[in-house]
Every structure is written in C-alpha cells, then in structure tokens.
Amino acid sequence: MSTATIAGHAVSVDADGFMTDPQQWTPEIATVIAASVGLSLTERHWKVIEFCRRDAADKGEPPGLRRIAQGAEIPVKELYQLFPKGPGILAAKVSGLTKPKSCV
C-alpha cells in the first residue's frame, strides 16, 4: 500500500491504484481518477457511483456488475458504455472502493 495525492488530497492506494479507505474519497477525487482512465463523468456515471458507495458502505465490499445494474437501475449494456471494458472494476475505482474480488 502507498499514499498518492489526488485532487490535493493524500489518499491510501493499493498497487493497482484502488483506494483502500473509502472515507478519504471526495467527488473531486472521482473526477480525477475518471479522467486518468479517459472518462468524463456524466449524470449517469454519478448515479452508478452513488449506488456503489452506498452499497459498499452497507455490505462492506464493492458491488458486482449485476448488483450495480439492478441497484442503480442501469442496464449492463449501458454500464459497458459508461465504464468501457470492465464496469465493475472501473466503477469501484472511481467510487474510491477497494478492488473487487471475483467470487469463487
């Protein structure tokens, strides 16, 4: 684990750039992380981020793709347009959550 400065805040991140303490997250940090992966956040992105943060606070782990689709009421197909390649992973990253573990 190391410390990175994002949008003027010192935050703890893991080797893959995922924040390890969701309390350190701010909306400005989300905007900067998103820009670093080539995304500019729209209202639909924020809907996803808000659900992910709320759900992770409740469950203690970042939600999976299907859970996001259901909870944020956004179809999986659109999630792939909003967060290309890996919506589950990218949404967690932008939302300041730990790296999702794939279930076994």
């Binding site: 793709l65 290309p84 794939s102 279930c103 076994v104």
Partner: protein, 410 residues
C-alpha cells in the same frame, strides 16, 4: 414438540436431516424435509454424460432412500418463506410452522438471463450440461459432431462446481482425440475472469493444461448475447466469437421460492454469515450449500464441510448459545484432465490451493495440484462414496471440516 424444517433434499439437505435426526430426541423434535420431486440427482455425474461415460440411470436415485426413519418427507414445491411468522407456505396451500429452518434449496441455471440463449440455437448448436436434459442432448450432439469450432463459455460467477467447465474442455479434447477428429476441432474457452480458473494459484499452476491441449483462452469475456442462428457469441464490450457448437454454463440463480420470499440477493442467493451459516434475515434460519451467497465454491464437498459446522450451530442455537464462526470456506475438488488423469485441489476462503498429499498428510494416496491416475480413480470412486457414505452422514474423519495445512505446501 419442537419443529425443524429443512427445505431441499439434495446433498446438503439430506446430510442435515441425517445428522439432526441422530442428534435430537424424536420425542422432542420433529424434522421435516421438503422437496418438489423424489429424484436425487448425482450432480458430479453430469460432466460425464456428454461423452457417453454415464447415462441417465447413473444419475438418479429416489430421495426417500436417503431420508432417515423418523424424518417426514413432504413432496411439494415451496411457495414462500415467512421469517416473521416462522412458517413455510407450500404450493399445495398448506403451511409448515418451524422453530428452526434450514434452507438447502440449491442453485439452478437461468439461461433466460442472457439475451438470445434460449433462441433458435438452444439445444441445436447451443447446449448446457448442468441439467440432465442438457447433458443428454449434448451427448447426442457430440455423437454426430464431425468437427468445427467448439466454444465453451462460462457466462458469470458464481456457478456450481467452478472447475467443471475446464473439466469439460479437457474431456472434450480427450474425446475428440479418441474419435480421431481432434485435428478437425478448433477449441476455445471464453470466461469473464482474468484466467481460466477461478483461483489464481490454479490458473498459474494449471494454465499449461490449456495450451498443451491447443485450447484457446479468451479472458474477461462478459457474455452479452448468444446468436445461435449465426453461430456468434458476443460480449458487452463488442467482441464476437464464432462457433459451430457452443457449450455454455449459463448464469446461476437460487431457488424461485427464495426470490418470492424476498430473501435473496440479486441472483436469489440467501445472504448468509460466511462463518456461522446463519441467515442475515433471521436468527431462526440457517443456510447451507449452493443456496448461500457465500464466496465459497458451490460444490458438494463444501456442503459436506458446512454440514458439520451447521449441525454444531443448530444444536447451539437450540440450547440458547450463539453460533460459532467455524466455517472457513473449505473446499476440495477433483479436476478431470482427460486421458485417465485428474488433479485434486484443496483450499478455503484464505488459502489458495496447495501442493501436498490428501487426505493423509505425507501419505495421500492422492496428490494435490498435480495430474495423476490415482486422482482420476478417486473421482470415479467418489460416486459410490457419495451415495453410500456422504449422504448417509458417515464419519469421514480423515477429512475434517476445517482445512488443515499438514503435509501441504504452497
């Protein structure tokens, strides 16, 4: 009279009925098991059906043969569970009140969750092997298959027996080789994961199995749509894979009754404490086997290890004591690799599959994380162990519920 109700008479439910009947006085405790049919399916056998190694009669025995005397077996579909009323409503209109409920309703495939899967190609060039009908239909298809592109695809986790899709690939490779048509079959394996196996250690140690067999691996492939007519499988990120024959492992869900009861997560699996197996919805409800939302594998071995922990916790709960956090996610499974060999792996929530010997430290006779003929015979012998020992709650004390690191190394 106190009442225990068990929903589901599969591997987990049957084991719990046996263990609880032994542990509780029949004068004080009634035990009722509910299932919608009387056919106990030996699920590990499904893998062998497509290759003609097992037939339908190798898969089924009556559930009632394994329900011990003194346990009531109710043949009915469950309508819904009411945790506030502590009652299970059955489809025939009756209600079963319980003091303690054990949910062992398992998991099922849900092909309708993927666009196009149940379209014109279903069971023509698109097959599953996780149901008896699917496995039998696929065996007929493979008998007439003369070559082409075989695509094997796991739609999303969690699935039952996470190694089964890989085993299918290895057995198919061996089957086509025996048929003399392997050179005419192009094989690919598409998975949403970053590697072939769900466990990183397995992917590292065992990826040679795919390359050495000429099976192309397509990772991070999140299936969006099946087009049987055109023979195309497409991912949400726009990739397309062409096939002549698609063998898919569809999305899995928990039982419909769980969804109707409002007790499930987004895939109808029951939120469960990962160490005590108590349901998060009610302290009067415990969950075991594939029905849970746990990250442990959905497999019979896991249900077997959970059963010991759950027995202890149900007895503690009855006695007014808190449940103990003794389930560690322990799983072990055989992985058929074809040509008469298999691999055995042993792992839990925290420990990745190790090298070593199993079940006796240093002695085995089975080797962990390595191909051997003994492992293959172990896998075939397991069918008899399953029917005659496991379901009957025999003491398999060499294989304790918690994972042991004795005689193992990473």
């Amino acid at each position: 009279m106190n009442r225990i109700v068990i929903l589901g008479a599969g591997t987990a439910g049957t084991m719990m009925a046996v263990k609880l009947r032994r542990a509780l006085e029949p004068e004080d405790w009634s035990i009722t098991v509910v299932d919608q049919d009387n056919e106990h399916l030996y699920q590990p056998g499904l893998l062998f059906v497509p290759f003609g190694l097992y037939t339908k009669r190798d898969l089924f025995k009556p559930r009632t043969r394994f329900i011990p005397p003194g346990v009531d077996f109710v043949l009915s579909e469950v309508d819904a569970i009411d945790v506030d009323l502590q009652a299970v409503k059955l489809k025939d209109g009756t209600a079963l009140a319980y003091d303690w409920l054990i949910i062992a309703t398992g998991a099922r495939i849900s092909p309708s969750d993927t666009a196009g899967m149940l379209g014109e190609g279903w069971r023509k060039n698109v097959f599953d092997f996780y149901t008896p009908d699917g496995a039998l239909a696929l065996s007929r298809k493979l008998r007439e298959f003369r070559g082409g592109r075989l695509l094997i695809n796991m739609v999303e986790m969690p699935i039952k027996c996470p190694v089964a899709p890989m085993e299918f690939a290895f057995l198919a490779d061996a089957y086509f080789t025996e048929q003399g048509i392997r050179q005419d079959v192009e094989m690919a394996y598409a998975t949403p994961l970053t590697g072939a196996f769900t466990k990183q250690r397995c992917s590292d140690a065992l990826s040679y199995l795919l390359t050495s067999r000429g099976i192309r691996l397509e990772t991070q492939f999140n299936t969006g749509e099946v087009d049987g007519g055109a023979g195309k499988l497409s991912s949400y990120d726009g990739r397309e894979l062409e096939f002549d024959l698609l063998v898919t492992i569809p999305t899995h869900r928990g039982a419909e009754a769980i969804a109707r009861s409002g007790l499930g997560n987004e895939l109808d699996f029951v939120p469960t404490d990962k160490h005590t197996l108590q349901s998060k919805a009610s302290e009067r409800v415990f969950v075991i086997g594939d029905a849970t939302d746990l990250t442990s594998s959905k497999a019979g071995s896991v249900a077997h290890f959970q059963a010991d922990v759950l027995l202890e916790n149900v007895l503690r709960a009855i006695g007014g004591r808190p449940p103990l956090p003794h389930f560690d996610g322990h799983a072990n499974c055989f992985i058929e690799t074809g040509h008469g060999k298999a691999i055995l792996i042993d792992f839990n929530y925290d420990v990745e599959p190790t090298h070593g010997r199993f079940p006796l430290p240093g002695i085995g006779p089975l080797k962990l994380l390595e191909e051997s003929e003994a492992n293959h015979w172990g896998k075939l012998a397991f069918r008899s162990v399953y029917w005659n020992l496991l379901l009957r709650g025999a003491d398999l004390s060499a294989i304790g519920p918690q994972m042991s690191m004795a005689g193992k190394w990473s």
